[in-house]
């Protein structure tokens, strides 16, 4: 496999960013990691994962869809779409990498969402294998191997060097663009590191969590479960879980009157919000119980029903860490599970 010494990462980043925009995870002052546009001198974060998920790159929290100009009785529609520039997201973890394939199933399904596709087409996802998973990780539950991430190209570290391999044409093109910095390397040590990672993964507290009892055919078992009341009781109805979630993709479309035109934009929405399904004459999901249930039923039952059994969760553990009252999908799965 091709590799580059870890102490030459700067060179690598400089080379990539010379030709296209590069985003890497960097450490913030408060200890959290976030993706930043690479500028010379930035250091790759050593954190396991970024606080916000990587979905922002393809599905940003807000984006302008279309503009309107109103003049008397007339309306002018202004298409504001522009061809995205090419960019690379470096250091995406296995869980987030999988989230893209889940988002693809929504946004690239007919009719294709051109806004999403535009960015997806121009973005190259370079993943990075995990070596130090943490207690909130449960990607294994969804069949994700943290030591072998997906993505257009993947990187692996053995502590000294960064190994890199392409998974598809886009990834290969990426590697070609930096090939001058790469050399062939021996993967023996790397394999040992990966094996060790896999050992740790097995020892994690959530390693035994399985999806065996969930799936598209489990609607009746779970929808009317009497557990929902207890589980949702302390839910604040905030949007933290949905907003840090790499696979949550519900959105709202809103108009903003700028004073000289109307901007129609879309923004993340949360099924946890009380007005998510509110209509002029009523709301089919009246209490937090129904809204709470929707989020988990969608990830564990409805989504697999429509997508050949694939679940709408990648086990990244962000909601486990971030929920203000520590209620999360793991607790829900464990409480609901009917064997």
């Amino acid at each position: 496999m091709l590799k580059i010494s870890l102490d030459k990462l700067d060179k690598l980043f400089e080379a990539i960013s010379a030709s296209q925009t590069l985003y890497i995870p960097v450490d913030r002052e408060d200890g959290a990691a976030e993706y930043k546009k690479y500028e010379n001198g930035m250091k790759l974060s050593s954190a396991l994962n970024t606080l916000r998920s990587a979905k922002d790159f393809f599905f940003p929290q807000t984006e302008n869809l279309v503009d309107f100009k109103m003049e008397g009785q007339n309306i002018e529609v202004i298409d504001v779409r522009e061809e995205s520039e090419d960019f690379v997201i470096f250091g995406v973890r296995a869980c987030d990498a999988r989230s893209f394939t889940i988002l693809d199933k929504v946004f690239l399904a007919e009719p294709v969402d051109s806004y999403y596709k535009n960015r997806r087409d121009h973005g190259t996802v370079v993943t990075m294998a995990c070596t130090r998973p943490t207690e909130t990780c449960f990607c294994g539950t969804f069949g994700i191997d943290a030591a072998a991430p997906e993505g257009d190209a993947a990187c692996y570290s053995d502590g000294e060097s960064l190994f890199i391999e392409a998974h598809n044409e886009k990834g290969q093109k990426f590697i070609d663009s930096i090939s001058s910095l790469l050399e062939d390397g021996d993967t023996a040590k790397l394999e040992a590191v990966r094996a060790k990672t896999r050992e740790i993964l097995k020892k994690l507290p959530l390693a035994n969590l399985t999806t065996d009892n969930f799936g598209g055919d489990k609607l009746n078992e779970y929808f009317n479960s009497d557990k929902w009341g207890e589980l949702s009781e302390s839910c604040l109805g905030c949007g933290t879980c949905t907003f840090v979630c790499p696979t949550c993709q519900c959105y709202d479309i809103k108009d903003f009157n700028t004073g000289h035109g109307i901007k129609r934009f879309r923004c993340w929405d949360s099924c946890m919000y009380s007005d998510f399904t509110k209509m002029a004459h009523g709301n089919p999901r009246l209490t937090q119980l129904e809204r709470f249930r929707q989020r988990f039923m969608h990830k564990l039952v409805y989504f697999p029903a429509n997508n050949n059994g694939e679940f709408g969760c990648v086990g990244c553990g962000r909601c486990l860490a971030k929920c203000p009252i520590s209620m999360n999908i793991v607790k829900v799965m464990k409480a609901l599970e009917v064997k």
Partner: protein, 148 residues
């Protein structure tokens, strides 16, 4: 401090005036033909205490460069106590805006009675000039609303 005094900049000033004192004071400055800049646009409210902080932020969002709130002198409120509440609310709001690093001189409360046409004009001249010196409001604007 801004070195450049923004001579050519035409700030947009929104003035909320209470119906009983300051709006009448503004009228009086008109009756007496006391000039103040066209930059100032007055919104009539029944009492200064009707002005919600949201209105002030809204004005900044939409491109105002300065917001001034005028009411009856303390003790003279048509509704007895409205301007006392205004004073507390605005003191705290302005202090908060200052805390967030928004230029202090963009906001002001001035007590103008119905008899103080001259004070109204003078205040508006002075405030407009102060805001002109600050230049365009950039720290509390909504980029979407910026005029192209």
């Amino acid at each position: 401090m801004q070195v450049n005094d923004n001579k050519d900049f035409q700030p947009l000033i929104v003035a909320f005036c209470c119906n009983w004192c300051s709006y009448a004071g503004a009228d009086l400055s008109g009756t007496n033909r006391l000039n103040y800049p066209t930059n100032v646009k007055i919104i009539r409210v029944p009492c200064s205490c009707r002005v919600n902080p949201m209105f002030i932020l809204r004005a900044f969002q939409r491109g105002a460069d300065g917001v001034i709130l005028c009411g009856c002198h303390p003790g003279d409120c048509h509704y007895t106590s409205g301007n006392y509440f205004t004073r507390r609310r605005m003191t705290l709001l302005f202090s908060m805006l200052d805390f967030l690093g928004i230029e202090r001189d963009r906001t002001r409360v001035e007590w103008v009675s119905a008899a103080e046409g001259a004070k109204f004009a003078a205040t508006m001249n002075e405030f407009t000039e102060a805001v002109r010196k600050l230049g365009p409001n950039r720290r509390l604007e909504d980029l979407r609303c910026r005029k192209q």
